[in-house]
């Protein structure tokens, strides 16, 4: 840019010198013929000034000097020639001024336009640089679709996302469509159409086929421009590789499902445990209640029994027919009492008194004492050798006798043991089975139907014509109190086998000797 003050000063100084020189020359020449023309040179000097106005100023100065020269020049010369000369000089000066002013203005305008252009170019470079930075920062691919020609520009990063190198993909729209997953194709095309026709924002996720054959997930966003008539001209946007995000989403989903499933499982486990606990509590309360009730029933039953006894004695001679009647009454009272006993047994929680006992010998002893109906044959199969386990003898005795009674009843088919009936085979066996000692009571009775089998261990379940059905549950209680258990196998018409087992740790704990 021209026109620093320093230059300006130099120019002004030169102008003054030149003007003075020309004027002096003008005065020196008598004719003044050449007097006017040098002043044009002064005007020419104005070209180097930055403003057109200086040209006008110089023109005015030159004009003034021309006129002054006429008056101050030496005498001589032809008047009309001198005047004509001055007039011509006048003419030349102002033509020059005019031309130079015009040229100067154009030059200035050009200069301004040029600098503006430079600024714009600079801004553009800056913008491009910023853009390039942004693009490299986002790691997105770029695309630019010329809708009229079908040409589709894709940035190297775009192509990299689908695993292609530069030039491997044709820059046409169809190449893109071929890469879209078949299931997603319609959706993508519909979305593009919706954007172009209805200006619905274009932003969707779909799968593209990577060069390797696998599919990657991508998010494409774009914007179209329309001409004045609403016809779409171009559309451009970005492509983001979201495969990782999608995989993470899938994982989260799976984890969620797993978590939900686990929560459900845990909840139903908890619920089951809760139910079991509630049942136990209820049974415990029931047990306490039955204990109290049973106790209270004992005395009145006793009174009735005594009264019947007395009646029997008193009427023995007078009314012999009463015998059967009274027997029936007595039997019923005994039944009631058995039930009371069962209830009390079930209800109580007795501490166990464990004594190391040789199982086989002990069991043999029980069989000896127990009354077995004649119709029942007993088979002994004792294979526990000299194994001794610490258990509460009274409790186990009750358990075994309960099973033996059940077995005999099943086979005899009558309430009152001792009568001859159908008969059958009772097998008592013992054996060591891994970590357990097992005592089994098997009968050849009618067995328990499969539908009924799960219920036999339910308290108060009973298919006998009398009884509370507390026998088996009580036996199970006893076994479980010892840390053991009870197993029933039965098939209809084939008999029933109940196995009582005790854990053998007792053996080691008790430090047993035979």
């Amino acid at each position: 840019m021209r026109g620093f003050p320093k230059n300006q000063m130099a120019l002004i100084a030169s102008a003054i010198c030149l003007a003075a020189a020309f004027f002096a020359l003008d005065l020196a020449l008598p004719l003044g013929v050449a007097g006017g023309v040098p002043y044009v040179a002064l005007v020419l000097l104005g070209w180097w000034f930055d403003r057109p106005r200086y040209l006008v100023l110089l023109g005015a100065v030159a004009t003034a000097l021309t006129i002054a020269g006429y008056y101050f020049s030496a005498e001589g010369g032809i008047e009309w020639m001198v005047l004509a000369n001055r007039a011509l000089a006048f003419f030349a000066i102002w033509i020059t001024v005019g031309l130079l002013v015009k040229a100067k203005s154009s030059e200035n305008a050009l200069r301004i336009a040029h600098s503006e252009l430079e600024q714009r170019a600079e801004a553009l470079r800056e913008s491009e640089a910023r853009y390039a930075r942004a693009v490299s920062g986002t790691n997105d691919g770029l695309w630019d679709w010329d809708i009229r020609t079908g040409e589709n520009y894709r940035s190297p990063r775009w192509e990299e996302i689908v695993g292609y190198g530069p030039g491997e993909l044709e820059p046409v729209r169809q190449a893109l469509i071929d890469l879209i997953h078949p299931d997603d194709r319609k959706r993508v095309l519909d979305a593009a159409r919706a954007h172009l026709d209805e200006r619905v924002p274009y932003d969707l996720e779909f799968r593209l086929r990577h060069k390797s054959g696998e599919y990657v997930w991508a998010r494409s966003r774009g914007q179209a421009i329309w001409d004045a008539g609403g016809k779409p001209l171009r559309m451009a946007g970005s492509l983001t590789d979201i495969t990782r995000r999608k995989r993470a989403e899938e994982q989260i989903q799976k984890l969620n499902e797993t978590l939900e499933r686990r929560v459900e499982e845990r909840t139903s486990e908890l619920r089951a445990a809760q139910d079991a606990l509630l049942r136990k509590e209820r049974l415990a309360t029931l047990g306490q209640l039955t204990g109290t009730v049973a106790h209270e029933l004992r005395n009145p039953l006793g009174t009735i029994a005594n009264a019947i006894n007395v009646i029997g004695h008193k009427c023995a001679s007078a009314e012999p027919d009463l015998e059967k009647t009274l027997e029936r009454a007595e039997r019923s009272i005994k039944r009631c009492d058995t039930i009371v006993t069962e209830l009390l047994d079930f209800a109580r929680a007795k501490g166990l008194q464990r004594e190391p006992t040789v199982v086989d010998a002990w069991l043999a002893g029980i069989l000896e004492e127990q009354h077995i109906p004649e119709a029942v044959t007993v088979t002994r199969d004792f294979q526990a050798d000299a194994a001794a386990v610490a258990f509460d003898r009274d409790e186990l005795r009750r358990a075994v006798i309960n099973l033996v009674d059940n077995a005999c009843q099943a086979m005899i088919g009558r309430e009152k043991l001792g009568d001859a009936g159908i008969g059958g085979e009772l097998t008592l066996s013992t054996r060591m089975n891994g970590e357990r000692v097992e005592i089994a009571v098997a009968d050849s009775g009618p067995g328990i139907p499969a539908a009924v089998l799960p219920q036999v261990l339910e308290p108060l379940f009973s298919t006998k014509t009398f009884g509370t059905g507390l026998g088996l549950p009580t036996v199970q209680q006893i076994m479980e109190a010892h840390g053991g258990g009870l197993e029933i196998t039965s098939r209809e018409h084939c008999g029933t086998k109940v196995v009582l087992w005790l854990p053998l740790e007792q053996l080691r704990e008790a430090g047993v000797s035979v």
């Binding site: 005594n306 009264a307 006894n309």
Partner: protein, 127 residues
């Protein structure tokens, strides 16, 4: 009906009056002479007045329980046969009685005929 002389002199202590009376009646059928009271304290008092051959006492009594009552009676009447009646053999009081040694435990329900024979044996000196 047998005469009173071949039977024993018995005392029944039970807070259930009906039970006590019914048992007494049943035992009387066998010729025993039976008194009844309904509390441990009354039982001790009665034993103080009469020298019973045997006393049948219920374990659960209002006031002083059966075991302690019998033990008290045994101090003044060591010859008396003491029986503790209980509805449940697992009773802890019954266990105490057994430990004490001098008391026999009878589990309800009692068979009156069986009991009568047993008590007759006492009188006869076989106790």
């Amino acid at each position: 009906m047998t005469t009173g002389s071949s039977g024993s002199r018995l005392l029944i202590v039970d807070d259930d009056e009906d039970f006590g009376d019914s048992l007494a009646e049943a035992l009387e059928m066998h010729g025993h002479e039976v008194d009844t009271t309904t509390s441990g304290e009354d039982g001790i008092a009665a034993a103080g007045r009469t020298n019973y051959d045997a006393i049948l006492m219920d374990v659960a009594l209002p006031g002083l329980n059966g075991v302690d009552s019998l033990l008290a009676i045994l101090e003044t009447n060591p010859e008396t046969r003491c029986f503790l009646m209980t509805g449940y053999s697992a009773d802890h009081l019954a266990a105490r009685a057994i430990e004490a040694g001098a008391i026999e435990v009878l589990t309800k329900p009692l068979d009156p005929d069986e009991l009568a024979r047993r008590l007759a044996a006492i009188r006869a000196g076989d106790g």
